[in-house]
């Protein structure tokens, strides 16, 4: 049965509460266990100057503020970026299987990042920033390359052709970045990082580096909600309904690939988030982007926080690459979506 918007608002508030609970859990659980109330007290004190934390040990405060909190914020940014980008790509291509990893955008972005690392070419002041910029540029180039090739092969841009081209490009791009890493750095750990992702190197300065890009892209995409809705009836029909389709499409693709590129530069290639989160959200809130996008943001953030928690606690003291956990869930859900989709097509 279809739910009414009013219940969506309640659901959104519940999602927010769940997200905050997951955040506090992620900060509390780990090799050193910190009680929930101490986590809340420290954050309230450090950020808002409320309450007294003189009885909490300095080590605990350091673990919370400089290690676990940045990691949770990074998971939030990357999780919501990937799932928002996935939702946008699915909407523009009218393809429920599209996302950063299935279209090869993420692998393309990792070529950019590895080139920046391997060649050591950096921007004068912001060396960390140059990796982000090259990732974003390569993400954008890969997306347009894949879509251009698909358009040449199959003008109707059918779902299967798009995904096939994306997967092929994705494999090609990962071998190039692995090759670059093997030749230039000889460090296989880095290959694992770029193919499976990790949030382990998160810190506050990295968070502050990507926060502006994240906010700009998110607000731009939210601003374009009416256009995304109209795109559901097809590009030609959207044009006749008054959308400047070419401009809207390019700008939205740019924003989505910027989100993916930035995430890859920070945490490597974390697969499937952009695919499964919007798919799950669509099952609940149906097809209005006014609801799909905010729910994708909050659910994506919660999902990555919780998978990160699993990845770093399940085999302590070492860490599982987060991509293993997301792909574990992702592959199963991907097959289910594909199966449903095929079945509906065949009817």
């Amino acid at each position: 049965m279809l739910k009414r918007p009013k219940s969506y608002k309640i659901m959104f508030v519940i999602s927010l509460i769940i997200y905050f609970i997951i955040c506090v859990m992620s900060i509390s659980i780990g090799s050193v266990r910190i009680p929930f109330d101490e986590v809340v007290k420290v954050i309230l004190n450090k950020w808002f100057g409320i309450g007294d934390i003189s009885n909490i040990s300095q080590t605990t405060i350091t673990i919370i503020i400089s290690i676990r909190l940045p990691r949770v914020i990074m998971a939030t940014i990357v999780g919501s970026s990937l799932s928002l980008a996935g939702a946008v790509m699915q909407g523009l291509l009218k393809n429920p299987l599209a996302d950063g990893s299935s279209l090869g955008v993420a692998s393309g972005a990792s070529i950019g990042a590895t080139i920046a690392i391997a060649t050591g070419i950096t921007l004068p002041i912001l060396s960390e920033f140059s990796i982000i910029i090259t990732s974003i540029v390569f993400a954008f180039i890969s997306l347009f390359l894949v879509l251009y090739v698909v358009r040449k092969i199959d003008r109707s841009m059918s779902t299967n052709t798009v995904i096939l081209a994306g997967v092929i490009f994705s494999m090609f791009a990962s071998s190039i970045s692995n090759l670059l890493l093997s030749v230039f750095s000889n460090d296989t750990k880095k290959i694992v990082f770029w193919t499976l992702g990790s949030l382990a190197s998160s810190n506050m300065s990295k968070v502050l580096l990507i926060l502006p890009i994240f906010l700009i892209c998110v607000f731009y995409i939210l601003y374009k909600i009416p256009e995304l809705n109209v795109f559901q009836v097809g590009e030609d029909a959207a044009k006749y309904l008054g959308v400047n389709t070419k401009k809207a499409k390019i700008c939205l693709f740019m924003a989505a690939s910027a989100l993916v590129g930035m995430s890859v530069a920070m945490t490597g290639n974390i697969g499937f988030v952009g695919l499964i989160i919007p798919a799950i959200v669509r099952m609940v809130v149906k097809t209005n982007y006014k609801y799909i996008l905010p729910f994708s943001i909050i659910t994506g953030a919660s999902f990555l926080c919780i998978t990160d928690l699993i990845s770093r606690t399940v085999i302590t003291p070492s860490e599982l690459p987060i991509g293993t956990v997301t792909s574990l869930f992702g592959a199963v859900i991907f097959v289910c979506i594909l199966y449903n989709f095929k079945k509906r097509r065949d009817v």
Binding site: I225, V230, V233, Y240, L241, R282
Partner: protein
């Protein structure tokens, strides 16, 4: 309302449309008739400023070329031939997209005028009872009415239809044209429709343009255009004799 004057379109050095001219007046149902590949859809694309052309197309004395798509879409609504939907939209969701051109803020809800227009469009096309149904669970005839309602919710003055009765059975074809006829009689409205079915064209339209290979065969009042001679020239078969033959076979 709409004046098309000496419209010509060239694609890859091939002349697709050659000197097409016609006027559309209030309450007209103007049909464009011609064989496949005669340039009918190209006329629609030219009117929507979607293709390069020479000649002039004026909407209420304003040149279409100087208008942007969001302005044109407030005057002209287009019902396309094919609808592809990937996601599980409701009928109401789809119809309300027709109001896009009027409201553009991101989280804005539909205002009263929007709701009124949507309600009107759904009543006219008789899909109010399907309001909350999924677009995946309705029939082809209902889907076509949903998309017609979407374009009507756009509240255009001119409605352009590209074979609106394609893939529909006879009853649904007549239903669609009855809806269109009713709508076209409202103040300040007019319809342009590409159509293949000569009987429907004859029954419902007021004016017609008959084209072949981008060239006008005849243009004007319905009974002056659809003559035995003109149809023979357009389709290279004797349409009149063919219809008589078919009719005689009915028992």
């Amino acid at each position: 309302m709409l004046k098309v004057n000496k419209l010509s379109v060239k694609i890859n050095n091939k002349l697709i449309l050659d000197n097409i001219s016609f006027d559309l007046n209030e309450n007209d149902i103007f049909v464009i008739i011609g064989p496949n590949g005669s340039g009918k859809t190209t006329i629609v694309k030219s009117i929507m400023n979607d293709i390069k052309y020479t000649g002039s197309i004026k909407l209420k004395d304003k040149n279409i070329k100087t208008m942007c798509i969001s302005d044109i879409s407030k005057y002209i609504g287009v019902l396309m031939q094919n609808h592809t939907l990937e996601f599980d939209n409701t009928v109401f969701d789809i119809v309300s997209l027709g109001r896009y051109t009027y409201s553009k803020s991101m989280f804005a809800n539909l205002d009263n005028e929007d709701k009124e227009k949507i309600k009107e469009a759904m009543e006219l096309t008789d899909i109010t009872h399907l309001k909350n149904s999924s677009i995946k669970n309705i029939s082809g005839g209902e889907l076509q009415r949903v998309f017609l309602a979407l374009v009507l919710a756009q509240d255009p003055n001119i409605l352009i239809l590209d074979e609106p009765t394609n893939h529909l059975d006879l009853k649904h074809q007549i239903d669609i044209f009855n809806i269109l006829k009713k709508w076209s009689l409202k103040e300040g409205k007019a319809i342009i429709s590409i159509i293949h079915d000569l009987n429907l064209a004859y029954k419902f339209s007021t004016n017609a343009l008959l084209i072949k290979e981008g060239i006008t065969v005849a243009c004007g009042k319905m009974d002056e255009v659809l003559t035995k001679e003109n149809l023979k020239n357009t389709y290279d078969i004797d349409v009149f004799e063919w219809m008589k033959l078919v009719l005689n076979n009915w028992k």
